[in-house]
């Protein structure tokens, strides 16, 4: 991106917003979290930065406008003997407060356009994963890696059993007891996560088999709707190994709240090892993507790698 100059000018604002909300880099939701996560990819700072800048602009305008309003409410009270003035327009002032917002908007639009262009560019990817949303689970098919087609590596990923038992109406089980490595994973853990390599531009092709879903991992910085009959593309390039959690973000029926997404990002070597072992066990062929009924059959023989906290 080439927005250096303006970027520096607004960084000051962003810093204020940043300071207000603490600078801890978070990937997954934390209790009391106030702001968007910074994310862990080469792109995820874009929405984070825009969010902070826009919030900063809004806070400053808010202080000015509401400040003026409160001053007016205290100064111009009838009970304090204020006498109403007669004027009802001021052309200079009106021109000023039409022009200044336009300038602010141009700056914001400039920043946002750069981010949009970056996100829209899915070229040059080193890996492709097909994501298919079903009621109420996700299917991941590995399409290619480093220019080579991958055959028959694909699996369903659905809510983990512990969350599923706890979330039943009046189950009597305590949601705060659902933990992995001390981190509460209630409703944001799956039986088998999507495993991807770090430092690799991964292209996701996203679709759905029944109704519209939306694939959202906040740490990656975006969501993309999964729509039957349409294949959407998005990309990510994760910087840090880790487990990143998200949820379906488009109402998709009764269990919409119970189809989480877990992305496990690992170093390339580890990923290649994992992929090789997956390819070896691909004896039970991946079922046709259109068939949701095939879901149970895809519970792979291999034990799911335990997600690291």
């Amino acid at each position: 991106m080439t927005s250096g100059g303006i970027k520096r000018a607004v960084t000051a604002l962003a810093t204020i917003a940043f300071a207000l909300f603490g600078g801890v880099v978070q990937a997954n939701p934390e209790p009391g979290q106030l702001n968007m996560p910074r994310g862990v990819t080469t792109y995820s700072h874009v929405p984070y930065f825009l969010n902070n800048v826009a919030l900063g602009v809004c806070v400053v305008i808010g202080i000015l406008v509401f400040g003026a309003m409160f001053i007016a409410m205290f100064r111009f009270r009838k009970s304090r003997g204020a006498v109403a003035e007669k004027w009802s327009h001021n052309t200079t002032l009106e021109i000023v407060w039409t022009t200044i917002p336009v300038i602010i908007l141009i700056v914001l639009a400039y920043l946002a356009t750069g981010g949009l262009k970056t996100f829209a560019d899915t070229t040059g990817s080193q890996m492709t994963v097909k994501v298919t949303g079903y009621q109420w689970k996700w299917r991941y098919d590995y399409v290619d890696y480093q220019g080579k087609a991958i055959d028959k590596v694909g699996f369903m990923s659905k809510l983990d059993r512990e969350s599923d038992e706890t979330r039943q109406l009046k189950s009597g089980l305590d949601p705060s007891a659902v933990k992995v490595d001390g981190y509460n994973t209630y409703l944001i853990n799956v039986d088998e996560p999507l495993v991807v390599p770090i430092n690799t531009k991964i292209r996701f092709v996203i679709t759905a088999g029944d109704v519209i879903h939306s694939w959202w991992v906040p740490a990656l910085g975006w969501k993309m709707d999964a729509i039957p009959g349409i294949v959407n593309a998005a990309w990510t390039n994760i910087n840090e190994p880790g487990v990143y959690r998200g949820q379906c973000a488009e109402l998709c029926g009764q269990d919409h709240g119970f189809m989480p997404i877990v992305v496990k990002a690992v170093p390339k070597a580890e990923f290649e090892q994992w992929l090789a072992s997956k390819q070896q066990q691909s004896a039970p062929p991946a079922p046709a993507a259109a068939s949701t009924a095939a879901a149970p059959a895809t519970a792979q023989v291999a034990p799911a790698p335990a997600p690291k906290g």
Partner: protein, 538 residues
Amino acid sequence: MAHAATHDHHDDHHGAPKNFFVRWCMSTNHKDIGTLYLVFSLLMFFIGGSFAMVIRAELFKPGLQLVQPYFFNEMTTMHALVMIFGAVMPAFVGLGNWMIPLMIGAPDMALPRMNNLSFWILPFAFALLLSTLFLPGGGPAGGWTMYPPLSLQGDSVAYVVFAVHLMGISSIMGAINIIATILNMRAPGMDLLKMPVFVWSWLITAFLLIAVMPVLAGAVTMLLTDAYFGTSFFNAAGGGDPVLFQHIFWFFGHPEVYIMILPAFGLVSEIIPTFARKPIFGYKAMVYAIASIAFLSFIVWAHHMFAVGLPLGGEIFFMYATMLIAVPTGVKVFNWVSTMWGGSMTFETPMLFAVAFVILFTIGGFSGLMLALAPADFQYHDSYFVVAHFHYVLVTGAIFAIIGGTYYWLPKWTGHMYSEFWGKVHFWNSVIWVNVLFFPQHFLGLAGMPRRIPDYNVAFANFNMISSIGGFLFGAAQLIFLGVIVHAVWFSKKKAADRVWEGAKGLEWTVPSPAPYHTFELPPVIHDDELAHGHVED
């Protein structure tokens, strides 16, 4: 006047018909129909509110305690449909019905019989819609946006579609009536640019309604034929496109959100000058701003769809167009503040609600600006951030304006003053708890909580509990509103003056309180200095 002559002489100079059925069911009187609309809207506000209470109760803490997820989805869907089509829109039509003829010096609405029909369709529409909750298949659970293919999985498609058709017909008739009234029935001397801002806002809103309600009707009809007649408009397997529905729906849906806020702008533009005792700042700018917002509302619909995979050019166009709306909206906010500046203010209940409107609606506008930035929207979209945003503009925006307008004109309608003390109790409880209710939802959305989920991770527990507590108390505070209204209508002993508020200007304050059954049977002679905008130069 002879009693026998009443049938030929319209209702003549008699008061309202004595027979309850004749008066309320066969009414062609704009005041009675306005009252019907307002009472209906209040009833729907409490029904829709009770659905919200179910939602907030289930979300009080993690784990499912009260309802099954499917029923939860029915609640979110019905809450939205009832509040939008049952509470907010009819409330504005009711206020318009009551006040537009009084404000422009007309004896009644231009098409009184159609006025009766457009109201009496609504109870049937909502009986049909609400009845689905008691049917074996359950109510609609696919969200008020009715996105296919999900919405087609329900058993209540036909009920919902027919109910939406009825609501649409009602709205279109109401809109035609308002346009016909404003354009044809103004008293001599009431030039367009001397009209109160509320009347202007309704004139523009009525055009929006006529433009987009048929679009919604078309969209839901296509849903109906997809569901029952084998068409494939939105069915990818049959060559259709699920995204097509979203384009059509939001071509209706975005103007719709302005249908719910422009009359609120009008109300606030009446209330603030009255209690600031100073003419509104930039009258013409206010009118032009409403018109620009209305125009822009037609070219921003796809900002609801940034995450459906629009082409880059589309994302950019809709982002820029959406951001533009901030300019006329900003002008309005600045003008309200300038109206207050240099005034001589008192803070009766209507003014308190109007002031809260300006602040809290602006906060909703700020989050709207943030949502307009497409890359940031990829994070915000369909999260609780969006829920916080639209509740700020709809609850502390539209509904606060409606409540403010109700307090403002209640003495004119009933002839009695409401209890200022209880009005203020209502205000402070509303304004505090509504923020406790909705402000933490911004944080929830930013932290990654999707909307429309019945249960959530423990990380979201604190703010959800705070939000629920705010929700229960905000809901309870509205019972005070009901009490204040009941008191003012039947029990208040304090007579209202004709000009209820010291700083009030405009024709509605020249008629007695309560407003007689028939007003302005002879057009009033208009003196420009009696009007709020009689001498407008700018």
